[in-house]
Subunit: 298 residues, 2 copies
């Protein structure tokens, strides 16, 4: 069981993840007061009406008013917006407040914190909950979004142990499992398992929609296509940011992907049924192993 | 309502599709006797015990014994096996029996029929039910697999009108909707909507399983990855056959895909957030339109 308890939770950027975190912590009863600031006032009003938050703030300044040591401030904004938000937090938040985020790339956040603060501050704990959906916005938020999901904490060199522990407890309270790795390692691994698949799905739909037979093509797209491209319904702005922030790792993965694709193309040109089957069988076996592993761990 | 009724249904290759077709027609009561031949005797015994078929045949010769005009013979074998099966059917089946198939590529079948029969026979009606699953084998078959799904009929130049009509009625009886196009057009369209996505999913898993951090990578693969790669759990033999049989269309689609991927790569290299967002927004909008369209048609 988690020991997490806090007087105040403050959320900048109340989307699917920020909203779900507020709901999850509200449900546990371990936070007394939840406040949020969001660029779109509509999301804030919705959250207020639904009782997801107690206070809708009209500025980051107001959000930071009266925050004390022990309170937690969560960045729920798209990855590239984190830097500008940190600039505003820098003069406004006292050092005892734990600052954490939920972004899908981590080295970028640390670099931005170094730019803004001189060095990454000890109260900043970069984190990434591996949960989500192609849906987005606070309207789609769910209290159980993180239950039985992994959250990766990526402490930087200057990260304070007590702040790290606090963020760990926060996520445990939401029912998540915790892992830890460096920001660089995180970006490598997620570049392969999450960012690359999103690229591939977006590009497939991009190709189909450029085809002359576009209408016919979509008419005969079946369930496999629907599942395959589900992630291409994800928020374009959020994913644009991830692309830019994790540019190098993603570029490397795309290059490697094309090399593997070219190997299949060569096998096709040679009509080498054996080589094709070998690739497919290895992939199928790997995926089955993945499914077995995720059943065991859930 | 469908007018379909037949004395005998004969199935060569009792997998997911052949088995589901037998179950669906059995449920409607419009077929008196269902017989099947399959390379694996185990599948036949299973189907016999489950009452999916009335007779398990030990050879294609036995399967064809006593078939009469008005009976229907269905090829449920992998695409590349259809030619060799047609060679055995050629001397054994009388011309009044309607022969149809369920394969995912159509030009190949017509070419094989021309090779075996001299010209594609009038009683051969190529068909492709756009339904399936990453599961396979008769054990996974379901009577409702085709309900509210499209079946594409791809008549060749010599196709007999009465046989075409018969196959149309057969699929209507299973609850499917019917479309018609040329074999070539079918292979173009399905190359984009089905074959290419399978390639992309297999190759993604192939890449991940070749990575040094393979274990870690799979550990952090989340729901998006699971959906994206579902089709990489499909039968490798079946898909190897589809690759070979629709080689040219698939190669072209892969080339086009790489061109679109390269455009994204260039935008990444230029750090052009705008170009990236444009691609993602177009893809997202296209997929949403696809979802709306498929809701309306189902």
């Amino acid at each position: 069981m988690s020991q997490f308890a806090a007087k105040r939770l403050a959320v900048v950027g109340l989307g699917l993840i920020g909203g779900s975190l507020a709901k999850a912590l509200r449900e546990t009863g371990c936070v007394e007061h939840i406040r949020a600031y969001n660029r779109s006032a509509q999301s804030l009003q919705f959250a207020l009406q639904q009782g997801i938050i107690d206070q809708a703030c009209s500025s980051i300044g107001q959000l930071c008013e009266g925050l004390e040591a022990g309170d937690v401030l969560v960045l729920g904004v798209p990855v590239l917006a984190a830097g500008p938000v940190l600039e505003q937090l820098h003069p406004a938040v006292e050092a005892g407040v734990t600052i954490t985020d939920v972004g899908s790339t981590k080295s970028w956040l640390v670099a931005e914190a170094e730019r803004v603060f001189g060095e990454a501050p000890s109260n900043l704990v970069p984190a990434h909950p591996i949960a989500g959906s192609e849906q987005y916005g606070v309207e789609a938020s769910r209290a159980d979004l993180f239950r039985a999901h992994r959250v990766i904490l990526t402490p930087h060199a200057n990260c304070g142990a007590s702040h790290l522990e606090r963020v760990r407890e926060l996520w445990l309270a939401c029912g998540a499992g915790i892992d830890e790795m460096t920001p660089e390692r995180h970006d490598e691994v997620l570049g392969a398992t999450s960012h690359l698949p999103h690229v591939l799905a977006y590009i497939l739909v991009d190709l189909l929609c450029s085809m002359e037979q576009r209408g016919e093509v979509l008419r005969y797209a079946a369930g496999g296509f629907r599942d395959f491209t589900r992630i291409a319904s994800s928020d374009p702005t959020m994913w644009r940011d991830i692309m830019i922030a994790n540019r190098e790792a993603i570029s490397s993965r795309i290059d490697e992907y094309e090399q593997h694709l070219d190997r299949l193309k060569a096998a096709l040109e040679d009509e080498s049924a054996e080589a094709i089957q070998e690739i497919f069988e290895r992939a199928q076996a790997t995926r089955e192993a993945f499914l077995k592993q995720s059943e065991q761990s859930s």
